[in-house]
């Protein structure tokens, strides 16, 4: 093997990689926030009293979880464009990922909600709390705390999955790398570099999620034990 590794292109292209990194981070954070919110709404729907609501949410979740993210992205970007809705690639990217992550978040949050004992619900009802108060004060906070590690894993996976949006020409880290590769022909080097950047980003995300957990779960901060 006579191949000589050459990372010198980085001197010229690092600002582009940096902006790609920022776009990946932005895309991920937006998708995680909205995916979590939608997923939680779906989880509440899947545990609702009404059978019809439960059924509708279950169909949505199963449909999304059993199709590839890339196909969902193509449906939203190329599919919608072909029937006359031309939306930006970045918007479609976020939309597709939100829809995808919401279905997985739904299943994780459902497990959390179902872990709340009936006695907790009875106690809140007997304190004359409304359905909304019960949901936001008694059910969702401990439910989220219990499944938080699983949520974080899912969110990191989603951050990595944003690389797929390069396929619909949305700007982010992987699409930046593809462009640099086509100009420098340093495939091995550039993909190694962005692999390392993804690892670093995943690490930063984990630290961020840990810090967030300390902020939003005071019991965890004080006692350090799982709920």
């Amino acid at each position: 093997m006579t191949y000589t590794f050459d990372f010198s292109f980085l001197a010229e292209y690092w600002p582009e990689l940096l902006s790609g990194l920022m776009q990946t981070a932005q895309l991920s954070i937006l998708s995680i926030i909205f995916g979590f919110l939608l997923g939680t709404v779906l989880a509440v729907g899947r545990t609702a009293d009404s059978k019809a609501v439960r059924r509708i949410c279950a169909i949505y979740v199963e449909a999304i979880r059993n199709t590839p993210l890339l196909v969902q992205m193509f449906m939203i970007y190329f599919g919608l464009a072909s029937i006359g809705f031309k939306l930006s690639a970045e918007f479609c990217a976020v939309l597709a990922i939100v829809i995808n992550v919401s279905s997985y978040t739904c299943e994780i949050m459902r497990a959390g909600i179902e872990s709340i004992k009936k006695g907790q619900l009875e106690a809140s009802d007997c304190l004359a709390m409304s359905w909304w108060q019960r949901l936001f004060l008694i059910v969702l906070p401990p439910a989220t705390e219990r499944v938080y590690p699983a949520l974080v894993s899912q969110f990191i996976l989603i951050m990595l999955a944003t690389s797929l949006v390069s396929q619909i020409s949305a700007e982010e880290l992987t699409s930046t790398a593809v462009r640099i590769d086509s100009m420098t022909f340093r495939s091995f080097e550039i993909y190694t570099v962005i692999a390392v950047i993804y690892i670093a980003l995943a690490f930063v995300f984990r630290i961020g999620f840990w810090a967030l957990s300390q902020l939003v779960f005071p019991r965890l901060r004080r006692l350090g034990t799982p709920l």
């Binding site: 809140s124 304190l127 019991r219 006692l223």
Partner: protein
């Protein structure tokens, strides 16, 4: 004075199991009523029906001027819950909140009290159950008896007109049982109307103004604490036989 609680021929079944078969009794304002009986006699179900945790199939219950029947609405139940507190065998404290937050939650969100008001109130009721220093502790850091006293305080903070106690000492050892019963005795002295389902015969006899013995879903015997010393029916005689 009309009774604060009135059960009139209440029936309740779970599937084909008839748990309550025409239960009738009254609770006078300011009195302590102890419901005793074997496991499966329907005593806990009767108590749970009194604040709508179980919907009744027949008869009528009036609690603090609220009427419970087969078709009671959620709004009616909420109104009832503003007047009636309940304490459970398994405490049911909210594990993600501190003791103080557990107590302040409903006054703040349901009664719409200011944070300062709710805090004063929480400190006051916590003092009543002898746990003022546990305001910032989490439930899991407390013993069972302490958790149950917090649950009583949480209920008291809603300033109920009636308190229900569902076997609140059944999960506790004798020492912890004693501290919870002491709190309940003080409540009774303060004039709180209380209905309790209990296996503590000495407490039922000593503190109860009325003792109701339930058997097979019916009120089998009813009277003051003395019925435990001089049972009229063979069933109650057998039930208390080994106790007092």
């Amino acid at each position: 004075m009309s009774p604060i609680v009135k059960l009139n021929k209440v029936s309740k079944s779970f599937g084909s199991l008839n748990v309550l078969q025409g239960v009738s009794f009254d609770v006078a304002q300011g009195s302590v009523v102890a419901i005793i009986g074997r496991s499966g006699s329907g005593k806990s179900t009767a108590l749970r029906c009194m604040n709508g945790l179980e919907k009744i199939n027949g008869g009528e219950i009036t609690v603090c001027n609220h009427h419970l029947h087969q078709n009671v609405t959620k709004a009616q139940l909420r109104a009832l819950h503003l007047d009636v507190g309940i304490v459970f065998q398994s405490y049911n404290l909210f594990p993600h909140l501190t003791v103080g937050q557990n107590i302040m939650l409903a006054p703040k969100w349901v009664r719409k009290q200011s944070k300062a008001e709710a805090k004063d109130l929480a400190a006051e009721v916590l003092g009543k159950v002898g746990l003022a220093e546990k305001f910032d502790a989490y439930p899991e850091q407390l013993s069972g008896g302490q958790q149950q006293r917090v649950a009583i305080a949480r209920s008291l903070a809603m300033q109920p007109k009636l308190m229900l106690f569902d076997e609140v000492t059944s999960a506790l050892d004798p020492e912890l049982t004693g501290e919870v019963l002491k709190v309940m005795e003080n409540l009774a002295k303060d004039g709180m109307t209380m209905v309790l389902v209990t296996h503590e015969m000495a407490f039922a006899k000593g503190v109860g103004d009325k003792v109701i013995f339930m058997h097979q879903g019916k009120v089998w015997e009813e009277g003051d604490g003395e019925i435990l010393s001089a049972p009229q029916t063979p069933e109650l005689r057998q039930f208390v036989g080994n106790g007092l």
